[in-house]
Symmetry: C2
Subunit: 121 residues, 2 copies
């Protein structure tokens, strides 16, 4: 293992991290974590849901705000919301009858930082 | 269709675009384009390949530089490189025996911009 790879592996486990992937080789662990989140983003319905939630009034939305936009059943939308939630991209809070979803800006920010195309030396 | 959705659809087709997804709802077309690229990133081996290519000396690498890092066959690595290439994340240029791969920083930059977690109003 190279010095560079050792340094990457020193990072705390479970942290998606924010060092751009163009700067140094990703470790196997870190790439597995990141791939899980990008896979959740790799679906058009989930991307639209994420965008609708984030841009909704007050930065939150319930399933009742989302179902009218798609020609998809409630259970299908709920499934996609579950995938986004399990990937850590949104949180859900039950209030009365509905669960209200919010985007987690800190994870979006870390993903954005990972993709920054810094110039290599 | 809302005024907001009309405005998003006005964008040129085929452009991944760079307006943050938290700012306004993604159109169906734009989310389909973005999902295709995020899906290509949703695999640990492809993320590591992308990172290895970008951080390699001179910002480029051939399969000969990449095979030693993984316990994967040459054809498997070539398949993943093909997926990255078809998603527009890397380019390949044949020089002599080898194809040399480079990351496309402009696409990485646009993806990074899409994920920026701007605060909503």
């Amino acid at each position: 293992m190279s010095k560079q790879e050792e340094r990457v592996l020193d990072r705390p486990a479970g942290a998606v991290g924010c060092s751009p992937l163009v700067r140094e080789p990703l470790s196997a662990d870190r790439s597995a974590e990141l791939a899980r989140v990008f896979k959740a983003l790799g679906d058009p319905v989930r991307l639209r849901l994420l965008s609708l939630i984030a841009s909704h009034a007050g930065g939150e939305a319930c399933v009742c705000d989302l179902t009218g936009v798609f020609e998809l059943s409630g259970p299908t939308i709920s499934h996609h919301l579950k995938v986004l939630r399990e990937a850590g991209l949104i949180t859900g809070e039950r209030r009365g009858t509905w669960i209200y979803y919010r985007v987690r800006p800190e994870l979006l920010g870390r993903l954005s930082d990972v993709l920054v195309p810094e110039m290599t030396a």
